[in-house]
């Protein structure tokens, strides 16, 4: 068995002379959740559309479930596009029947699994309702059901949380985690990094079409996370900026965030602080993905 669910190599896409995706490469291991992170317009959707063979890359190579994209592979992928839409006049169960059969399912299997999923998403009893009679949130849930209906090995979700209320966000997160436990691979894109932080195993950050960072969440946090200390204090702490083991210093008056050259120096810092100011709190901090992203983009622009 190939260990890679997806591999992208030197993907390039131009739109009207503007480079939307610029030499992006990354791999997704089987059984993991990968977050494709980046602000709006970074090239996430374009990348996903190329993976789904909806648009052709100008250069580069994609391997999906160990092979190049083929008609057969479509049945093993569940794809939730960024722009949602269903047939307004079609009934809920008929919608699932059609989309399920398009994925090669038998009608009886669609009905059985469809009912089960509708129940899980609290849509049971709506089987014979037309899609246009559903609320927006319900239609979103139905679309998500259609995405996972055929029990795909690989889930590709483009902004799965957008437009959902907190309750439904939790529901989708649960489904993602359950799928992972079942051995499925999940790739999702989002610009909301705080959601990603709680679920992803690996992440790829892109900005302006370029990959700025990738790795497992643990690696990324280890690289950036362990050298920060957050201190609540009273007094004049400007001297901290001049300390030799301090790499960077951000002061907000009563709280500061200090980046150390080496995490081992944290006790030295505490001793130096206690001599001059009153320390109310002192803790190692993990920077959020948001902070890492901002730093990474700033580094890239500085270089």
């Amino acid at each position: 068995m190939n260990e890679q669910a997806l591999s992208l190599k030197d993907l390039v896409k131009d739109f009207d002379g503007k480079r939307a995706v610029d030499n992006i490469s990354f791999t997704v291991r089987k059984g993991e959740i990968l977050g494709l992170l980046g602000p709006n317009g970074a090239g996430k959707t374009t990348t996903i559309r190329m993976v789904m063979n909806i648009i052709a890359p100008d250069a580069g190579h994609i391997e999906i479930l160990g092979k190049s994209f083929s008609e057969k592979v479509k049945d093993h992928i569940g794809y939730l596009p960024e722009e949602r839409g269903l047939y307004r006049k079609l009934k809920v169960m008929d919608t699932l029947l059609f989309l399920g059969e398009l994925k090669g399912m038998k009608p009886a299997a669609v009905k059985q699994r469809g009912r089960q999923l509708l129940k899980q998403f609290q849509l049971d009893g709506y089987e014979e309702k037309k899609v246009e009679e559903l609320s927006k949130g319900m239609a979103q849930k139905l679309q998500f059901i259609a995405t996972i209906l055929h029990n795909p090995e690989l889930l590709i979700l483009d902004e799965p949380f957008s437009g959902l209320d907190p309750l439904n966000i939790e529901l989708i997160k649960d489904i993602i985690l359950t799928s992972k436990r079942e051995g499925k691979t999940i790739i999702y894109s989002t610009h909301l990094m705080e959601y990603a932080e709680k679920t992803v195993d690996s992440l790829v950050m892109i900005d302006k079409g370029r990959k700025v960072l990738d790795g497992t969440l643990a690696e990324v946090k280890a690289e950036y996370g362990q050298k920060f200390v957050k201190i609540q204090y009273e007094g004049d702490a400007r001297f901290v900026a001049g300390l030799p083991y301090v790499k960077s210093w951000r002061d907000s008056g009563r709280e500061m965030e200090v980046e150390l050259e080496d995490l081992a120096k944290r006790e030295q810092l505490l001793r130096d602080l206690l001599e001059k100011v009153t320390v109310n709190g002192f803790q190692l901090s993990e920077p959020s993905l948001q902070n890492i992203f901002i730093r990474k983009v700033q580094e890239g622009e500085g270089a």
Binding site: I54, R84, L86, Y87, K89, L102
Partner: protein
């Protein structure tokens, strides 16, 4: 293959389950039948019995009016005849509905009689007064007083009866036997026989013409209706953004052909039901309906109707589907579909002359041009069977065109379905065709 079936099933069910489909399927044959029978029925129901008083100053004319009119007997003629019903009512029908009553003159002046009977007309004691002056033979003028004077059938019955009486009197005066004159001036009737390979049948030319046009109108209407349905369907998929899910689930050709075939099958179902329902209607009322409808609607014509419906469907449906995929809004789609309708109107108008002269060079050439032939070749077949090679050639050309259109359509469909927002230029569409 399974996926294309899923698309066909979904498209077919979506149309067939619609209320409008069921209503149109039942209503169309009923309406069409109604358009033929209702005016006739209304004429019969609407013509009530009339009481007309006759003031016969000339003498002898009252007796002539009340005498049983001699009509040409046509044995084997059914009680109701479609073609005949569109002509003016027969004299015998009118006569049966009018009761004449003689006015006793008692030496009164015409003016006095008119005054008295004006009151009776107003009180509805009688429907009208016919005043025949003494000099009617030379003046050829009578007067009719009534509240309603628009009943042409009554007027012409009176006029023709009086004319016959007067001419008979004149002939008798000149000692010529009226029977000789009647024989000399009798109408010549043209009985039309349609010569076909299977045998010659008696059928009326008017009937053929009407049925030809009638089937052309149905073909035309159905092709436009279903073409626009496809166009709207594609546009809906595009606008609801479901196209991305579809393309990521199945091949674009499966989606495209599945859609066209599914909607086509729905159309075929409707046409088949129409034929079935009409057949039931016709056979149910066959006693009252001219048998020439049955001689016109042969299985052969039915088969050609189905063949040319299918060919026409693909020739017009695919351009409609392409328009749906290429444009973004209903307004844009409407502009393009108007162009397609105009294209279809050309064979429609050529068709009017082709039914009467089905073998002119214009009709022949036009009926071989694929975008015209579904309508025109069918028209020619109904009017007079063209040589088999011409039918075969038009079918072959149509199939070739459909093959080309299908190839082109699938390409444009693939790209167009995923292009949102921007109105494509012609150059872009050409690029789409080259896009792999």
């Amino acid at each position: 293959m399974k996926k294309i079936l899923a698309v066909i099933k979904k498209e077919y069910k979506a149309i067939v389950k619609k209320k409008s489909f069921i209503i149109m399927t039942i209503l169309t044959p009923v309406l069409m039948g109604g358009m033929m029978f209702v005016p006739v029925l209304l004429m019969k129901v609407g013509r009530t019995e009339k009481k007309i008083a006759v003031a016969d100053f000339a003498g002898g004319y009252y007796q002539a009016l009340t005498a049983k009119p001699a009509t040409r007997q046509e044995p084997g003629k059914p009680a109701f005849d479609l073609e005949d019903s569109m002509r003016k009512p027969r004299a015998s029908e009118v006569a049966g509905l009018i009761t004449f009553r003689q006015v006793l003159l008692n030496g009164r002046e015409a003016a006095a009689v008119v005054r008295e009977y004006e009151q009776k007309v107003l009180k509805k004691e009688i429907d009208g007064l016919l005043l025949i002056p003494a000099d009617v033979k030379s003046s050829r003028q009578v007067s009719y007083y009534a509240t309603s004077i628009s009943d042409f059938a009554t007027n012409s019955f009176i006029a023709s009866t009086l004319r016959t009486v007067i001419s008979q009197q004149l002939l008798l005066e000149k000692q010529i036997d009226p029977a000789v004159v009647r024989e000399a001036t009798r109408d010549v009737l043209v009985d039309t026989f349609k010569v076909k390979k299977e045998g010659t049948t008696k059928s009326s030319s008017g009937m053929d013409y009407i049925m030809s046009l009638f089937m052309m109108v149905i073909l035309f209407g159905v092709l436009i209706g279903y073409g626009q349905m496809i166009m709207r369907g594609v546009l809906e998929e595009k606008n609801s953004r479901i196209s991305e899910i579809l393309i990521s689930s199945a091949k674009s050709t499966q989606l495209f052909y599945g859609k066209v075939l599914g909607i086509g099958l729905a159309g075929l179902t409707q046409v088949a039901l129409w034929i079935l329902l009409s057949w039931i209607l016709v056979s149910r009322f066959s006693g009252t309906v001219d048998a020439s409808i049955l001689t016109f609607l042969t299985p052969e014509i039915g088969l050609y109707f189905v063949i040319f419906f299918i060919l026409g469907f693909f020739i017009y449906a695919i351009p409609y589907a392409i328009v749906g995929a290429a444009v973004n809004t209903d307004q844009e789609a409407q502009q393009f579909s108007t162009a397609i309708v105009w294209m279809m109107l050309i064979p429609y108008f050529i068709g009017f002359s082709a039914t009467q002269n089905p073998n002119t060079t214009l009709a022949l050439v036009a009926s071989l041009i694929p975008i015209f032939s579904p309508i025109l070749m069918f028209m020619r077949i109904t009017a007079s069977m063209p040589p088999l090679w011409q039918i075969a050639a038009s079918i072959a050309l149509c199939l070739l065109t459909i093959w080309g259109l299908a190839w082109l359509g699938a390409k444009i469909f693939r790209v167009g379905m995923l292009m949102y927002g921007k109105k494509p230029t012609l150059g872009e569409i050409l690029r789409w065709i080259r896009y792999k």
